[in-house]
Amino acid sequence: MALERHVISSFLEMSLTKSILEGNRLALARLLTQVENDSPEGREALTELFPHTGKAHLIGVTGAPGTGKSSLVNQLALHYRKNTNKKVAIVAVDPTSPFTGGAVLGDRVRMRDLSGDQGVFIRSMASRGSLGGIARKTASVVQVFDAAGYEIIIIETVGAGQSEVDVARLAHTTVVVEAPGLGDEIQAIKAGILEIADVLVINKADRPGVENTERALRSTLELAHPTKRVFRHHGKNMAVSAPAIDSDIWIPSVIKTVATEGKGIDELVAAIANHAAHLRQSGDWAARDRARLGSEMELLLREALLDRFLNNIPQTEYAEIMEKVLNRNISPYDAVKFLLNGK
């Protein structure tokens, strides 16, 4: 019976991946659910689809809540659809409640301009306990879109604070969105999220205070990336020797936008394209690919080893040792040593 079920389900799965490669949107939506739920069917399909991945440009969009990430993603997708014939996928992540496990996913509200276009696929994801700004299965969901022929994949993180930087590990190009009025917090955020920006966007640039925000961001960037300076001396321009610029170093661009009016989007798309070109030229594209797949493999290995280990020791033994730790008889370090070495 079990074997029979396996044969049937793998047959269904084969047609599922085949339909996805042929562009069936319902099959795609169903598989995304399987992948998100980490079901055996989902894993099997990911394996089948994997050879078809590696073609898409992955663009991460992150920033504090309310800076306009969703509106910006909406505009970006519109721009790509108008000016290229590439299919666009959007993976929008919102937080899961730590108490109930439920979530309200509201990013679609700002993306209504995209509906009716078969070349756009928007999928909302709940973070399901992950703290890095994206969900544990976001990378796998992105792989499915990649295999399905979506050449532009935009990953929108949860409203991020300081350390939700996982998206930078996943995406080729990371766009960090700021807005005027958050200027006072610039000092606080510069050690965290600004570091991962390949492109910095100041959205809501029609608001007062935009100059201050821009100045603060640019000065932060200058500290991090020495740029060639030209001093004026006796009315003549004199080049003062500054640290040589390594052409392999990418200096983040700063772009001002008003997402709700579509202003600055051309410039933003150009900056993203420049960054992609830089990645390819410098070899960083391949390096990021290697790092991403490496960490995915490591994570899977870790999970598999833990599963295998826990399946091989009796439940009672585990509970006993846990009890000893609770009673402060042994430390958690000792407990692990004991579990691994039996003493």
Partner: protein, 131 residues
């Protein structure tokens, strides 16, 4: 390890601009551990069906206060079917006259809730329908 969540699309078709009810229900379903995709106001049936497809939801909840339910509901049910999503359960909340209820149920609407309906009742019905 499978981690299955009930996914619900909460949508407001038509032109009336009152979304408090939809938000209350969205919040209640969230607190019941479901993943609620909220689409906002003034959605066309096409937009709703498309979102339901992309999000692979188990349930669609419609909030209709405009009186246009007899036009909107069948259109949405139809589009869901066309997209191959026959299994999706559709609920309606809003102002629905008693005499329309049997016809809506006949069309395939799973549950109908008027003013004063309790969120506990809605949560229970949604869970049951998805089983």
């Amino acid at each position: 390890m499978t981690d299955k969540k009930i996914r619900v699309l909460v949508a407001k078709p038509g032109l009336d601009g009152h979304d408090r009810g939809a938000k209350v229900v969205a919040r209640a379903l969230r607190d019941a551990g479901m993943e609620v995709i909220y689409t906002g106001l003034r959605q066309t049936p096409e937009m709703i069906a498309e979102a339901a497809l992309q999000e692979d939801v188990d349930v669609v909840g419609l909030s209709i206060l405009s009186g246009a339910h007899m036009a909107l509901a069948p259109r949405i049910l139809d589009l869901l079917k066309q997209n191959g999503q026959d299994q999706v359960k559709v609920f309606i909340g809003g102002i629905i006259p008693d005499e329309d209820m049997p016809r809506l149920k006949e069309m395939g609407i799973t549950g109908i809730y008027g003013p004063g309906a309790s969120t506990d009742e809605i949560i229970r019905d949604v869970r049951e329908a998805v089983q």
